[in-house]
Amino acid sequence: MRSGIPLWAILAKDLRAYYLKPPNISWGLLFPLLWAGMFFIRSGSGMESIPELLPGVIAVSILFGTTSLLSVTVTFEKKGRSFERLLLAPIRLELLMLAKTAGAILFGIANALLPMAIAAFVADLSGIRWGILAAAIVLIAVASTFLGLFIAVSVSEVFEAQTFSNFFRFPMLFLCGLFFPISVLPLWLRPVSYALPLTYGADLLHEAVQGTGVLPLPLDFGVLLVFCALLFGISLLGVRRRWIT
């Protein structure tokens, strides 16, 4: 009961200070929509192609609402020393980091909902398996947020956080099978694809939206969960090693 107050305070502060700020909102919304528009125009097809685009747009929305935002804000607070406040507070590090990442996770999920809402107006989404879709969105948001956390504990400057986020983010988008199937990638690149968490998230999204997933569902869920646990665990270790000197 007592730890509820600090955890909520951390989340509320981050939402107010970072995630609900106009520049972040507009960037989080605008970028995926532009991205989607670009694909839409290039494909030259009509509204019936929207379900085909949806998984990619959802993934991009989440990725752009989480990884770099979290890594940049945490690095910023670490540099400004305000992160020390949190380390000094009587809250277990695990809980503290969950509260610290919750804002980005929620923001990523919210970003995924917008393209879906738009799609719902212009296309027929009746074939979607909502349970799988919801689980996929949450897991992708968690995994990409924790990736941001991992980046934050690995760098010390804000620009490094930004650079590293892109370093992971862009190749991941192209190698995860969202925009073209992994089967068309050269043989030597495929192992890289299967080492990326988003590959499994993309497979879930394809399965949920169009029934075109290629991997077994339990494998997708299992691997994503393992990625989340690993990234979180390694990040905590990093905080204990590097930030408590």
Partner: protein
């Protein structure tokens, strides 16, 4: 919890053989001390002595290399979490949120310690008023002056009324009036039973505020005693200071050669000091100095204070210590 020698109050901070190195630098090198409940304990030392590193190990921001720390009777050498709720912390520089207002910062800090909304808001207003920040409270911290930030950082450290307060150079970088007010506040908190661990490089501050002081130099405690006992050493000592027109280190040898019962040493700014167990007769010393080619601009009696004790024990010139600090850009306290 152990009991101190005089049996008055239980020990709340017990540190044994604490050490930490950064690469080749032995930042803290075998430090042992204890602080009783309600005591105001001072850690006094020059730049780089290891004050901040010691405090960081106590509060859980730095991992001890070796040794042990017990706070509130709990061994927290490895894991400080179980005792962090007892601590209020004022770091050497502001670590508040520039994007929040003064009020928002205080409320956030209160929340981190589990204070309910009503509680923390009332307390935040009270502290803003106490620190003369009532009007600035609605402004973002990013726009505060250095001294305002410092005061807010102190307010944030005590918002949850912690039983143990850690202060790292609380009055560095703020104006004289604010510094005096903060010292008064620290004294009041101590009088109300708060245990205070304070680091400072201001000797007068340590002398005025603290009950007990540790002198720390290059990671080691060179002396630890009550202020009263430390002052006893110099209470019946007579010191004359001579301001010269040029450096007078060579003159000291002449003085001690002629008057073996006197101690003579150089002080900052072309000054020499002559010390004795009985009143110093100025005439003969003056004549000797002038015979030896020195020109005396001024002579004055120095009332021995902790400063003399510090200089004697550590061999560090207190003036030098203060000036070095101010050059390093943190501004002066007094």
């Amino acid at each position: 919890m152990g009991l101190p020698a005089d049996g008055s109050a239980p020990i709340v901070i017990a540190v044994r053989d604490l050490a930490k190195r950064f690469g080749e630098v032995r930042a803290v090198d075998g430090v042992t001390f204890s602080v009783a409940r309600g005591e105001l304990f001072g850690f006094l030392g020059p730049n780089g002595a290891g004050k901040t590193t010691t405090m960081n190990m106590l509060i859980g921001l730095a991992r001890p290399g070796s040794g042990s720390i017990e706070i509130g009777g709990i061994d927290c050498t490895r894991d400080p979490k179980p005792v962090q709720h007892l601590m209020g912390i004022v770091p050497d520089e502001s670590n508040l949120y520039p994007e929040l207002t003064g009020f928002g910062n205080l409320c956030f800090c209160g929340a981190l310690y589990g204070m309910g909304r009503r509680d923390r808001e009332a307390r935040a207003r009270e502290l803003l008023a106490l620190f003369g920040l009532a009007e600035a409270g609605e402004r973002k911290l990013g726009g505060y002056s250095k001294g305002m930030k410092r005061r807010l950082t102190i307010a944030a450290g005590i918002i949850h009324a912690p039983p143990i307060l850690f202060l790292d150079e609380p009055t560095t970088g703020i104006d004289v009036a604010s510094a005096r007010q903060i010292r008064q506040l620290i004294a009041d908190l101590s009088a109300q039973g708060t245990t205070v661990f304070l680091t400072t490089h201001y000797i007068e501050e340590a002398e005025r505020l603290c009950r007990r002081i540790a002198f720390i130099v290059r990671g080691r405690i060179v002396r630890i005693d009550t202020v009263a006992n430390l002052l006893d050493r110099v209470r019946d000592r007579y010191i004359m200071e001579f301001a010269l027109s040029a450096p007078g280190a060579g003159l000291c040898e002449a003085v001690t050669a002629r008057f073996p019962h006197l101690r003579c040493y150089a002080a900052a700014g072309n000054r020499i000091r002559v010390e004795s167990a009985e009143p110093v007769r100025v005439g003969p010393v003056l004549r000797l100095v002038e015979e030896s080619g020195g020109e005396v601009l001024e002579a004055r009696r120095i009332t021995p204070s902790l400063e003399e004790v510090f200089v004697e024990i550590t061999g560090i010139e207190s003036e030098a210590m203060r000036h070095e600090k101010e050059r390093n850009g943190r501004g002066g306290g007094e």
